[in-house]
Symmetry: C2
């Protein structure tokens, strides 16, 4: 009953809602599953590794990739560019591997018309106050940066209706269970079943 095509899971969230940690943890805990690595023009944060967290590229290289139509989606976030390689994505899906895309709502809007069966998951913080607290605890951002992120969080949350599922990240383990459940459930969708196998029984 191996499926011919992999599934695409698009996960978005305001920064600080825990999206990156959740997507990393889920990738380690599921078979036949991978996390799409985005291209980014920003500098790596402490602990981030090129080729694991992002492909860090120059502004010029990124612009060339846009011109060549290399991106399935790309977006500008806080003056940095982020994008997903169309070829890498299509390769995975064709191999029957499920892929999780950890992208912002601008990117998600570009994926929606291109990949009709993609599943959209929005991670919400329990409240804006908790979101702000988490951003402050990161200590990597300056005050001005935090205010900018909070403004953007409100903008991103406005796009919530386009998502299929919502996970409120109050407790990490619970949120992880919910994300894993969404993936396992979507793999059980009737539309993915090999109907020749069932028809052969009746």
């Amino acid at each position: 009953m191996k499926r011919k095509q992999g599934l695409l899971f698009v996960v978005s969230a305001p920064s600080g809602a825990g999206k990156t940690s959740l997507c990393r943890a889920i990738t380690d805990s599921l078979e036949n599953f991978t996390h799409s690595i985005s291209y980014a023009t920003r500098k790596p944060r402490p602990g981030e590794i090129d080729g694991r967290d992002y492909y860090f590229v120059s502004q010029q290289r990124f612009q060339d990739m846009i011109s060549a139509g290399d991106f399935a989606e790309w977006a500008e976030v806080h003056s940095n560019l982020y994008g997903t390689s169309r070829r890498v994505l299509d390769d995975m899906v064709e191999k029957g591997i499920d892929v999780i895309l950890d992208i912002d709502t601008q990117g998600a809007k570009q994926i929606k018309p291109k990949y009709e069966t993609a599943v959209f998951v929005f991670i919400m913080p329990p409240s804006l106050e908790i979101l702000e607290e988490r951003l402050r605890n990161r200590k990597s951002d300056h005050e001005k940066e935090i205010l900018k992120r909070m403004g953007r969080a409100r903008e991103e949350i406005k796009d919530y209706p386009m998502y299929d599922y919502v996970i409120v990240n109050r407790d990490f383990d619970r949120a992880l269970t919910e994300l894993r459940s969404i993936i396992i459930a979507e793999r059980c969708r009737m539309r993915l079943v090999n109907s020749a196998w069932i028809e052969g029984m009746i």
Copy 2:
């Protein structure tokens, strides 16, 4: 973020596919969740308890309940009648409790137009050969009964396209994880979110 209404999960399967064991195990492992107890006119099997497994009632009482419009669904299976009380179901849903209905495909067809948001799950045996083997291992059925059940299994499987999800019960623990995942995922559906809560943030 408590939901106003409970969700309805309808689980069907040919007998021997493991539906009853799965539904019982799932009920014990989730909060705010219950298993709807059907009315039945057949005699209890060894180990079955009235009020836990079924409400065992007479043919006459069942017919009276049909006439009174008491059933959300009812069906005749192997000359026995089975039905779900409409009042019990509506009470649970109104209290915000999620309910699992372990019913055959005839019953599922009656639920579909009445409860538009119900989620339909079909449990498949890995093959008809394994289904027959499981029925024989039960040792509670005679040869003629087994053949009748196999014929009915094929009939039930024909109704698979009306279901939202399919679980192939090759391994009990895996099937249980899949059923639990479907329930947890459906609870995360965007349409269930309290939009006033999100709108209040933006």
